[in-house]
């Protein structure tokens, strides 16, 4: 046996391919006879297409076809709901009618020999509209409860109540009651979404950027009314997604539709500007948090009432309030989640959807309470540590918050903090130290994997998972090598193809738990089979003796642990900021995060995930903002110059990630909880709390740009 590989900081197995440009992304596949599609998008938010004239576009050089709702084939659009699709509502049907539901909605597809010809011809399509009054200004909309009482199963109840929250708030000795606003944010992965579609009779191949190949196949099959087996989806590499690749977006359908009409392969790639209209986004949220406490810092009341934007055609909702129901101990809790229906396109999940936003509000409010009480923020949280999940009334399978506070505070040097705001300085700079608690649920979904051992002592392991960046390629190879006892170079893991065993969506931080458990089980089964049949006690020797391949396929299913336990990863994030008191500029100087996230399969890639989450959190706290023009729903800053994301210079030189020891036998066979999403949770509130500590200014509306600190 080789030494255990699970838990080792193995470098990315696909790293060399990526840095030498040999990793092939969706738009880069070379498909003979390829034509290029350019999407014409609406410039109104709500109304009808009165006329659409494509004559000039059709005559332009190189144009193969122009599709509009007037000439596009009618599509089957059989009902289909994948896990990332909202329960209520229906996706927009592409080019099937004259209705416009949002700014930037696809209203025509121009197919030409070259990309430039397609883009040029797209500008020649003449459109006139009959505008209808729409609502694109979230400040003017009265939010409503979602139609469905229990959206997405029981996971996100719109309204919950325990005890007497209003009474307890009224009677509380100390209270804080404020509203927090987070504007719309876009995922902005470095790779833009792209699809190449090629038909062969009624069989379709899609090279696509996606976090879930099988869902793309299922949806496109439903749209075109063909069996899902007829659709092959290939997606080996994903250049970042953060959730933007969870759903199957309209351009995928358009690529397939274009290829069918043109009778040749068609590629559609979104521009950076189109990324703000063609895929979802983190919705604008408005949240009131009211906390009541006794003078000794025990929470007596917690009211968290939030709403978020969604489209008129689908009710998207995210887990905005979940954490408030169990993160801190409180006998009287009320949560209400509402939606604001607007003429916008449907938002979607973006890294830690719900938790990142909800916990910003909650953990800012807890900090405000700490200030009001004159209690240290860490101490206040310790005083309100729950014994169990008070909402579900279940024990936690494991919860390492105390340990996270302790080790992160120690590493950070928290004990040297002076409590008063504006009390710490470095020259002109005001220094602030802030912290926040983080949590994200442990998700585990059914998954399949296949392991095939070969006589030469190598192995092939497969599952149709995805790797949008966390290192799935690497971690699965590690798990397989570890179980099989083979050196890592002898194990080849493959993902991102519907021909492989079905995996769940690569989101919700559940890939390690689900696909990892399937890989583990398949490798165990293959190994045992090989050892028994080969009559040896190591795989290499057994396979040499056997002289023929051994194969094992396994499906894993979560058991009933979720009925018995509340299962979450927890963490604590500490941040130091420096604020220029005159110019309002904030620089994050260091971040320390400690996480109890179960077993860490690869501390190197897990640390990278957490650092990425910290940088993403800096973006959320200080700069990210998709500005929605309330007059018409356009996003004027839909580009990389005016939508700021952190650059190298914004990343603190000190980002410390600590994984506390956690042995949780309940969560899943591998004992992992996932780190991809908890990594961004708590970062924005830790920074906002640090800014308050530095300046005495409480900013309740993100992003905290210089103008807010003048």
């Amino acid at each position: 046996m080789t030494t255990a590989l699970i838990g080792q900081p193995v470098s990315r197995v696909d790293g060399r391919q990526k840095v030498t440009g040999r990793a092939t992304y969706a738009a880069e596949f070379e498909v003979p006879g390829l034509a290029h599609g350019a999407i014409v998008r609406s410039t109104i938010a709500h109304g009808r297409i009165a006329s659409i004239n494509s004559v000039a576009a059709e005559r332009a050089a190189g144009v193969v076809a122009v599709l509009t709702h007037r000439n596009a084939p009618r599509l089957a659009y059989r009902p289909h709901k994948g896990a990332p699709d909202p329960d209520v509502g229906e996706r927009l049907h592409m080019l099937q009618d004259d209705q416009v539901n949002h700014q930037g909605q696809p209203i025509a597809l121009v197919i030409a020999e070259t990309l430039e010809q397609a883009n040029h011809a797209a500008t020649l399509v003449r459109v006139s509209y009959t505008s209808e009054t729409g609502t694109t200004d979230i400040e003017r909309i009265e939010p409503v409860l979602p139609t469905q009482k229990n959206d997405q199963g029981q996971v996100r109840p719109p309204e919950t109540r325990r005890g007497d929250p209003e009474g307890a708030l009224a009677a509380a000795e100390v209270k804080v009651d404020y509203t927090y606003v987070i504007p719309r944010e876009n995922h902005n992965p470095v790779e833009m979404h792209a699809t190449i579609a090629a038909w062969d009779g009624d069989r379709l191949t899609l090279w696509d950027k996606t976090q879930w190949v099988h869902n793309v196949a299922d949806e496109i099959a439903a749209v075109f009314g063909i069996p899902a087996e007829n659709v092959r989806v290939v997606s080996p590499f994903v250049g970042g997604a953060f959730g933007s690749g969870l759903r199957t977006w309209p351009h995928v359908t358009l690529a397939a539709l274009g290829a069918r009409v043109a009778r040749r392969p068609v590629k559609v790639m979104l521009s950076r500007r189109e990324m703000y209209y063609g895929v979802g986004y983190r919705p604008h949220t408005v949240q009131r948090v009211a906390l009541g406490a006794s003078r000794d810092g025990r929470l007596a009341a917690l009211l968290h009432d939030g709403y978020q934007e969604t489209s008129t055609y689908e009710e998207f909702s995210e887990a905005l309030l979940n954490a408030s129901r169990f993160l801190h101990s409180c006998p009287n809790v009320y949560t209400r989640h509402r939606i604001a229906r607007m003429n916008v396109h449907t938002p979607t999940y973006m890294r830690a959807p719900g938790e990142a936003s909800g916990i910003f509000a909650l953990e800012s409010a807890i900090d405000e309470l700490a200030v009001a009480l004159g209690v240290d923020p860490v101490e206040l949280r310790l005083r309100n540590e729950p014994e169990q999940d008070e909402f579900k009334r279940l024990p936690f399978s494991s919860r390492s918050t105390r340990e996270c506070y302790r080790v992160a505070a120690e590493r950070f040097g928290w004990s040297r903090r002076t409590a008063a705001s504006r009390s710490m300085r470095d020259g002109r700079w005001l220094i602030g130290w802030g912290m926040a608690t983080a949590t994200y649920p442990m998700n585990y979904a059914p998954a399949s994997a296949m392991a095939r051992l070969l006589p030469d002592g190598t192995a092939e392991v497969r599952s149709a998972s995805s790797d949008m960046g966390p290192g799935t390629w690497t971690s699965m190879t590690q798990v397989a090598s570890d179980i099989l006892g083979l050196p890592i170079e002898r194990v080849k893991f493959t993902l991102g193809d519907t021909r492989l065993p079905r995996a769940p969506v690569h989101g919700g931080s559940m890939t390690m738990a689900s696909v990892g458990s399937a890989v583990q089980a398949a490798c165990r089964k293959a190994r045992e089979d090989a050892l028994t049949r080969g009559g040896a006690n190591d795989v290499t020797e057994a396979m040499r003796r056997l002289g023929q391949p051994v194969e094992a396929s396994v499906d894993v299913q979560p058991g009933d642990a979720s009925q018995r336990f509340s299962m979450h990863a927890f963490g604590a994030v500490f941040a130091e900021v420096a604020v220029d008191p005159d110019l309002g500029e904030t620089r994050v100087r260091r971040i320390v995060g400690a996480y109890g996230a179960g077993r860490i399969v690869n501390p190197k890639t897990a640390r990278s995930q957490c650092i990425g989450g910290m940088i993403g959190g800096i973006g959320m706290a200080l700069m990210e903002h998709s500005v929605v023009d309330g007059r018409n729903g356009r996003v004027p800053n839909a580009n990389f110059a005016e939508y700021a994301v952190p650059v190298h210079a914004d990343a603190p030189s000190l980002m410390d990630v600590i994984f506390v020891e956690e042995d949780d036998p309940h969560v899943n066979p591998l004992g992992v909880k996932g780190v991809g999403e908890i990594a961004i949770v708590g970062v924005a509130p830790a920074i906002a709390n640090a800014i308050f500590h530095a300046t005495g200014k409480r900013i309740r509306e993100l992003p905290i740009t210089p103008d807010k600190l003048l």
């Binding site: 040029h120 005159d582 110019l583 356009r634 004027p636 210079a649 210089p706």
Partner: protein, 332 residues
């Protein structure tokens, strides 16, 4: 991108004959130098010229420093000028403005001439999904005045356009009283940079005094008593690689602790690079005392008009002036 003819003339005379004109969306022919701004405008269909006239290899790219001052050939790149020893030592505000602009990759490609003529970052100008933009389509209206205007100017604006000039370099240059050498079919002329860009008035689509055919051939910066003690301060939403929210270029001639003469210009706030002579006059003869600086800086706000989201710039630009002078004043 629209179809256009790319001309690669053999010499400057041939180039000038196409009557290309920068900074006007209605010009049928337009120059391209480094292309870092032009290609974006073409890709987003903001510019649709029939003809693009390449200036590659036609203009001087030399950087010369002498007793009269500095001469920057229009083809010199931002990267080369930023680190040129004479610029760094004698005109630090230029070097700092450049090093705080864009990214190393862009600076390697972008030229002096192109920098002065880059188009506004007004997002409505750059998104053809908005029909109304007087600068892009004369007479169509302005989407910014009642829209999201955090990015926009507070001085030099008109009822037709409030777009901010985005160039950092130009702010440093107007503080140093630089000029541009223009060359056209009719010969050569010299224009002080402060007069080169036009206020929007009711013709925001005409951005400079360039005549059809004319090019910027060089930038000249006179030697002065203030240039050596100069500084560029840029305030922005992230630490690097972003246009200015507000910026200040200052140059000081000090006599011990007293300011003998000061030059001050602002970026991010003006429809053109914005020099503030009243602030300069108020600073002359004064000390570096913060209260004194603040009183002088307040004069920059005269006539400034916010439009809602950009109101804060009026306060921030005064603070930027104070800080930039303090920093420059503290220099040896």
């Amino acid at each position: 991108m629209h179809t256009f003819i790319l001309e690669r003339p053999r010499d400057l005379a041939a180039a000038l004959a196409f009557h290309a004109q920068a900074g006007r969306n209605d010009a049928p022919a337009e120059y391209i130098a480094g292309g870092t701004d032009m290609v974006q405008l073409l890709q987003e269909h903001v510019r649709r010229p029939e003809r693009l006239v390449s200036l590659a290899g036609l203009l001087d790219g030399h950087i010369e420093a002498g007793p009269q001052g500095l001469r920057l050939g229009a083809a010199a790149t931002m990267a080369d000028v930023a680190v040129h020893p004479a610029v760094v030592e004698q005109f630090p505000v230029i070097s700092e403005a450049l090093l705080n602009s864009a990214s190393p990759q862009v600076r390697n490609q972008a030229t002096m001439g192109g920098n002065l003529l880059q188009r506004t970052r007004c997002p409505y100008f750059r998104d053809v999904g908005y029909a109304a933009c007087n600068k892009r389509s004369p007479g169509s209206g302005c989407s910014a005045i009642d829209g999201e205007n955090r990015w926009h100017a507070v001085v030099g604006t008109s009822d037709d356009c409030i777009a901010a000039n985005p160039s950092d370099l130009a702010v440093a240059l107007v503080a140093l009283e630089a000029g541009v050498e223009l060359r056209g079919a009719g010969g050569q002329r010299f224009v002080p940079l402060i007069d080169f860009h036009r206020l929007p008035g009711n013709t925001p689509h005409i951005e400079s005094v360039l005549e059809p055919g004319e090019v910027i051939a060089a930038i000249t910066v006179p030697a002065s008593s203030t240039a050596r003690r100069s500084h560029y301060l840029k305030v922005r939403d992230r630490a690097s690689f972003e246009f200015a929210v507000v910026s200040a270029a200052v140059a000081l001639d000090m006599d011990g602790g007293r300011i003998r003469a000061a030059r001050v210009a602002l970026g991010g706030v003006g429809t053109k690079p914005w020099r503030v002579p009243k602030v300069e006059a108020a600073l002359a003869g004064g000390s570096l005392d913060p209260a004194v600086l603040r009183r002088a800086a307040a004069l920059a706000a005269e006539g400034a008009q916010g439009r809602g989201h950009n109101d804060f710039k009026i306060e921030l630009m005064q603070r930027a002036i104070v800080r930039a002078i303090e920093t420059a004043g503290a220099r040896a």
